[in-house]
Amino acid sequence: MKVKEQTVKTIMYVFGFLIAVAALFPLVWMVIAGFKAKNEVLVTPFRFFPEKWLFSNYSSILSDPMFLKSMGVTFMGAVLFAALSLIINSMAAYVFARLEFRFKRTLWVFVICTMFIPGMAILLTSFIVVTEMKMLDTLAVLVFPGVASAGHMFFIRQFYLNIPMALEEAALIDGANRWKIFTSIFFPMSYPVFVIVGIGSYLGFWNSFVWPTMTITNPDLFQIMQFLNTFRSERSTEMGMLMAGSTLAAIPTIILFLIFQKYIIKGIKISGLK
């Protein structure tokens, strides 16, 4: 019995190790391919490591002004997007979690309904709407259409419902208004849920591709995924540079994740299913 258990355990560990390696392998390969000469990325016979480690791919993509601009613009947009998403959605979450007012039910249904409308169903008409509003080729067209999110609002509300009422009752008796209670009690306590929603929003913005390709034609505003895809089709022989660029484009998100992973992985537990 003991021996069998030991074997099962060993098999499990090997399996786990293999899966972890398989999960990281494509990314590690990408990072390393960034150090290869352009005709060495796809070479027969297969070689994992470069014959000679070149830094030129990374340095030349880093000195490409379009790449840097695109990273900068996307970063700015993503930070703005995440911040607005937290403010707008948490205010609504607070209102629905705590306040009583006329038409609460109607407004709740109105907001929640938007969760069931898939992006593709409104992709084209949204495009027409933003065109009519003269928003094409601005940062606003990337930020505003997706920033209000019933899903994020719902997630934050679930968190607020669990904050004990006692905390705010004292403040209410002291005559603090609702707005004050929101900013001084709820906002500071929202850290764990804000990390999850904020990073989710940031990632959604950083990784978005289809909407930017439809609405942004000015190269100065190119989003990073748009840049990479354009690079891929226009300079298809520069494989090493493409890998270097992809690596650099993935790094900010990976760093962000590593910093906050404790909260993110914990957040999976509070995402509302048992």
Binding site: K9, I19, A23
Partner: protein
């Protein structure tokens, strides 16, 4: 439940709701209503529109490529979801049995692909499936099999796109499954041990029934996510060969880009919406019926 507050906070509530309501109205509700209307018109950017009733819907339903796209979407979901679930189920068990340090590393490792964009995944996997020197063929050669044109062959193209999809989604699926596993009280297993139950019967009689909700949730979200996938085929194959990788959303997107008859694409998008919208409504129902989350 006691009344939270005697005086209604109408003004504060409305002020704080203005941003979300206004933004959702402009960027979701108006486009949606607009889409509903356009779907009944013969409408294009270049000419007067004309009311055509259900004609657009009839056209879509009669378009063999739409039917094919739906079947492709279903096949794709069948390739991705079961594989992802089984791997995640096994792997969640593996992580649970690991020591704290090791499991921390492994969790991080498998989560990282989840945050990678579809574009970067496509770029990497197009290289992996390269005919002459891609890793996929290198591995095949080790077993003495000839090179395959993974993305260009109708037999392998869809499966080749399913692989990056599994890669992107597998980490989060495992971690949600793990969270479900950890929620099962240890005492159940201890009781089973006292009864002399083996690990197999523990799995059948304890783990699987108690994971039911989590599995259901993952099945539904995995299914709706997979059937809506279109970034991967858009970049990796453009929907080819012979429309073999044209998922429903890619079908719609390609019509948006290439068709002057907007009504047709919008009608197909709405038809798909009916199916997906009802599935999401079910998810929400399941989730919202649960008591409040644990903090």
């Amino acid at each position: 439940m006691k009344k939270k507050n005697a005086r209604p906070d109408n003004v504060t509530a409305y002020t704080m709701l203005i941003p979300i309501v206004v933004l959702l109205t402009i960027f979701v509700i108006i486009p949606f209503v607009y889409a509903l209307i356009v779907s009944f018109y013969d409408w294009s950017f270049y000419q007067e529109s004309r009311f055509v009733g259900w004609q657009n819907y009839v056209n879509v339903l009669n378009d063999p490529l739409f039917g094919k796209a739906v079947v492709t979407g279903l096949k794709f979901a069948l390739l991705v979801v079961p594989a992802q679930m089984i791997l995640a189920f096994l792997f969640a068990h593996v992580i649970r049995s690991m020591g704290k340090k090791l499991s921390g590393f492994v969790k991080t490792a498998i989560y990282i692909p989840t945050i990678i964009s579809g574009i970067i995944a496509s770029i990497i996997f197009v290289f992996i499936f390269d005919y002459n020197a891609g890793l996929a063929n290198v591995i095949l050669n080790l077993f003495g099999v000839e090179n395959q044109a993974w993305l260009a062959d109708v037999k392998t193209a869809l499966a080749s796109i399913a692989l990056p999809a599994i890669w992107l989604g597998f980490g989060i699926t495992s971690l949600i499954m793990l969270a479900g596993l950890l929620d099962i009280p240890d005492s159940y297993y201890e009781a089973a041990d006292l009864e002399g139950a083996g690990s197999w019967s523990k799995m059948i009689y304890i783990t699987i029934p108690l994971l039911k909700n989590v599995v259901l949730f993952l099945l539904i979200t995995g299914f709706t996510g997979a059937i809506q996938q279109f970034e991967l085929p858009l970049v990796m194959t453009g929907g080819g060969p012979l429309n073999e990788t044209t998922t429903p959303n890619l079908y719609i997107f390609n019509h948006f880009r290439n068709d002057v008859l907007v009504g047709h694409s919008i009608a197909s998008a709405l038809l798909l919406f009916i199916v997906l919208g009802s599935i999401s409504a079910i998810i929400f129902k399941v989730l919202n019926s649960e008591k409040a989350v644990d903090g």
